[in-house]
């Protein structure tokens, strides 16, 4: 092979060979370029629409805009729930390479607790990477300034300003207004079930209890959105289109701040509740449960220490005593039973019975005591109510029987939810034969009817229920549905929220209403009436009924001695009153836990509330 190396070079052949290869190479180049052109055709012509869409998807982000939550006003336009700007420290995980390092550096500038950091990291794991997640809420001015100055050091860390709920009156309206808090998983699922989730894309908070929860939909408003052009880091380049959010509706309450403050002041010493309604339409005028707490604690997520304190408090501040406080109504329901007695002709206005201080059932020697040991002597319906004679009602109750009592009282609203515009409500209990069978698997004994006739034993009500169940007495058989909200958006009333009074009683003798109302008036107006002393010197006429609910069983021969028994087992004081007595515009129920007698403890508070009501001119109709 090596010998041929010296062969003479054939330049023509070599040139031909090279040219062949060159032509082949050019053909190859053209072929490869054709491949590129074909590929470009596939990408730019055939799949153009697809890539065009993806390009737009890259560039255009839809940013939801949260609506401003509706405001809440009292009856005279005083703001009870407002929105204030607050600043929060937020991080976008997508834009942060070294989360641990960033947090450590932030910690040198801003104080945040380990609890806050844990909650934050939990959210980081749970949420999508490009969502911004709050590390610390409610930054003060100094913290905002520090963060602004160091902004450049922390890509992906921002200070967000947003409106936050604030309740300027603190604990005054907690049980009425409730509060809002962050939307939790369960609430989100519910929103999804209701098809509302899309409207909440920009919302963080939701009403948790009270009016904030009941009127969540109205208060929330409608989300808006912006179509924005963003760059690869998600930074906003420009706004392409904007649809503003529609603020939630403002709502106005029938509650009067002054009356509410009065209720708070007079309840200061007690656990209990005060509720005042307009008996004509059910508008709530005052609604206070004591002890209360500051709802602002919940808006930004309450600390577990604070929450445990509230939860475990022996005074149970979280309970809404107006609607969830289940108390024996005691003698306050005597007027209601009296109406039934008169209507059923079990008694008449001239019926009199002898009260020796106790009542016994036939063939029994068990003595049901009257609250006056020596008895009232001869008692008619007037005396039985003004002086709160128990024996008269024991006797009438036995004659009426459980079935009639149960049916009639249910009609008046006892044992039923009132339908007020908050969801935290108990129906309490108006017992019946069926109820006892189901609950205790026992038949109903006449001995059960006796204490029931003075609003004890199985019979319980909430303060609000007692007030509402009294409205048929005042409205000639019409029961109102209580409501705190009286108007939306400054007077534009939505009828669906306010139901007209319903006729629940068909009374044979209209005169019976007057009799019952008269007995209640005399309780206040006549010397010796149980509420007389409390209302001496009042500038208005009123009517009412006291109640003293016994919580501790007292042995047959023992004497009730308030000092001798546990404070928590002392009698509850109740008062049910309204004014003016002939044309009532305010109906008040006061319930005090372990306070003692209703006439001496609860009635004076109702007097103070009514005094304010009439002197401050809360009732603008009169």
């Amino acid at each position: 092979m090596f010998k041929k190396r010296v062969a003479i070079q054939d330049f023509a052949a070599e040139s031909r060979l090279f040219n062949q290869r060159a032509v082949f190479a050019i053909l190859f180049v053209v072929l490869m370029f054709s491949v590129i052109v074909f590929n470009q055709y596939q990408l730019q012509i055939v799949s153009y629409q697809d890539y065009q869409t993806r390009s737009e998807g890259n560039r255009i982000k839809v940013v939801p805009l949260a609506p401003n939550r509706g405001l809440i006003y009292d009856r005279s336009g005083i703001l009870l729930a407002e929105n204030r700007p607050v600043f929060s420290l937020e991080l976008i995980p997508e834009q942060i390479n070294d989360m641990a390092g960033t947090l450590a550096e932030l910690a040198t500038l801003i104080e945040f607790t380990a609890e806050q950091q844990d909650a934050f990291l939990k959210q980081v794991r749970a949420q999508r990477r490009f969502n911004s997640i709050t590390l610390k809420e409610q930054l003060d001015d100094q913290e905002v300034a520090i963060l602004a100055a160091n902004q450049h050091r922390f890509p992906g860390v921002t200070v967000e300003a947003r409106l936050s709920r604030h309740y300027p009156f603190g604990d005054l309206f907690t049980h009425a207004l409730g509060y809002i808090g962050k939307i939790n998983t369960r609430e989100l699922q519910q929103l999804e079930l209701d098809g509302e989730a899309a409207n909440y894309a920009a919302s963080r908070d939701i009403g948790k209890i009270g009016l904030e929860r009941f009127y969540q939909r109205e208060l929330h408003g409608t989300m808006g959105y912006q179509e924005v052009e963003v760059n690869n880091r998600g930074r906003l380049i420009r706004v392409l289109r904007s649809v503003p959010a529609v603020s939630g509706q403002n709502i106005q309450l029938g509650i009067d701040v002054g009356l509410q403050l009065t209720a708070q002041q007079i309840l200061k010493q007690h656990r209990g509740a005060i509720v005042a309604i307009d008996p004509r339409d059910g508008a709530v005028l005052a609604f206070y449960s004591n002890p209360s707490y500051d709802p602002n604690l919940f808006v930004h997520g309450i600390s577990s220490a604070n929450y445990n304190e509230l939860l475990n408090s022996r005074d149970r501040p979280l309970i809404n005593r107006v609607t969830q406080g289940v108390y024996p109504p005691a003698s306050t329901i005597k007027p209601h039973l009296a109406l039934l007695g008169l209507e059923s002709r079990t008694i008449t206005t001239s019926t009199k019975i002898w009260d020796p201080g106790y009542y016994t059932l036939p063939n029994s020697d068990h003595r049901f005591r009257d609250h006056i040991r020596w008895g009232h002597g001869w008692v008619d319906i007037y005396t039985a109510i003004t002086k709160s004679c128990d024996t008269f009602f024991y006797d009438m109750g036995i004659k009426l029987g459980i079935d009639r009592i149960s049916e009639y009282m249910h009609k008046m609203g006892f044992g039923e939810k009132t339908g007020i515009d908050i969801l935290e409500e108990s129906s309490a209990n108006m017992p019946s034969r069926g109820w006892k069978r189901a609950r205790h698997n026992q038949p109903w004994y006449p001995g059960d009817t006796v204490p029931l006739s003075i609003g004890q034993s199985y019979w319980t009500t909430t303060p609000l229920q007692l007030a509402v169940a009294t409205t048929p007495l005042l409205n000639r058989g019409k029961l109102v549905t209580p409501h705190m909200v009286t108007a939306f958006n400054n007077g534009e009333i939505t009828a669906a929220n306010i139901l007209p009074p319903r006729q629940v009683l068909e009374v044979e003798n209209e005169q019976n209403y007057a009799v019952v109302m008269d007995t209640m008036h005399q309780t206040v107006s006549t010397l010796g009436g149980t509420a007389h002393r409390a209302f001496i010197g009042a500038q208005y006429s009123s009517a009412g009924k006291t109640g003293t609910a016994q919580l501790a069983a007292i042995a047959q021969d023992a004497k009730y001695n308030a000092d001798a028994i546990d404070e928590r087992l002392r009698d509850n004081a109740m008062y049910l009153g309204y004014a003016p007595y002939d044309k009532p515009t305010i109906l008040v129920v006061v319930a005090l836990e372990n306070a003692g007698g209703g006439g001496s403890n609860a009635a004076p508070l109702a007097r103070q509330l009514m005094d304010y009501y009439f002197t401050a001119g809360v009732n603008r109709d009169e």
Partner: protein, 372 residues
Amino acid sequence: MNDDFTGNARHSRLAQFHIDTPLLLGLLALIGFGLMVLYSASGQSIVMMERQIVRLGIALAVMIAFAQIKPQTLKRWSFPLFLVGVALLVAVMLVGSVGKGAQRWLDLGFMMFQPSEIMKLAVPMAVAWFIASHSLPPRILHLLGGVLMCAVPTLLIAQQPDLGTSILIATAGVFVLFLSGMSWRLIAFVAGLISAFLPILWLFLMREYQRQRVLTFLNPESDPLGSGYHIIQSKIAIGSGGFDGKGWLHGTQSQLEFLPERHTDFIFAVLSEEFGMLGVLILLAIYLFIIVRCMIISSRAQDNYSKLVAGSFTLTFFVYVFVNIGMVSGLLPVVGVPLPLVSFGGTSMVTLMAAFGVIMSVGTHKRMLAAP
């Protein structure tokens, strides 16, 4: 000067400086178009434009300088240059600077220098010198010698690691062998050998990131936010350009920086997005014109060395174009190859223009050799 194109003073004057006018016009068209795209791709950065223009000026000067060197001179210096290049590669391996995880640079005190750039020229020149010193087509032993001359620098560069450059350099050498007329049978045999070599390449020579690139290439959607992001965004940019593009400076993918490395390796995507398929066809036409013109110069060259060097440079230039466009449009895996004379970039542009200088030298010096 018995120039064929007498009558046109400008042509003859350019020819005096050993400039091939059609090729120069082609290159200027490419540079002009490239600068226009770069202005957009750089986010309208005047600073970048100035740097690129200065670099292009240097590169053009280098081209003109190389065009003045006679092919014979180049031939004489081919092998020594090759040896120097190999020595420098060894030096890089021993004392080179590390950048972006690869040891490619040699610090000369006043500038950083990439010896692999020299080899882009030196390897095909040396192989051409070796092959052309014997009659064509080359014998098997000469071919083996040529392969060895390719293999040494290729492996040295591959271990830096710079797989893209090493493959391009090997390709340049292989093009010389192909153009020299090695038999098709042998070509088929070597192709078979290379396919057999691929698993070894995959298992032993490729680094993890290089394997990842290939895997991503095979299925970019598997990791849309990670390594697949480049290619997905690039294809979106290209596809959304459509037939006539979104308009100069109006490509949303590039202007809003969804497209990574938009002014360097992925500049073709910017062009595709803003000028559409029409722009791509114009670009390819310019490239094809340059390639065909260079091949014509090669085939007209007087001696085998000139033919082989010029032909190899031309085909290597094509490979650059194809690999870059192929990678940006998803036909090939992502390897760091710039789009010739369009991408913002340093040394490689100078090397490229030096190669065009050599081609011009080949095209303009032959008659003077043939005449006497």
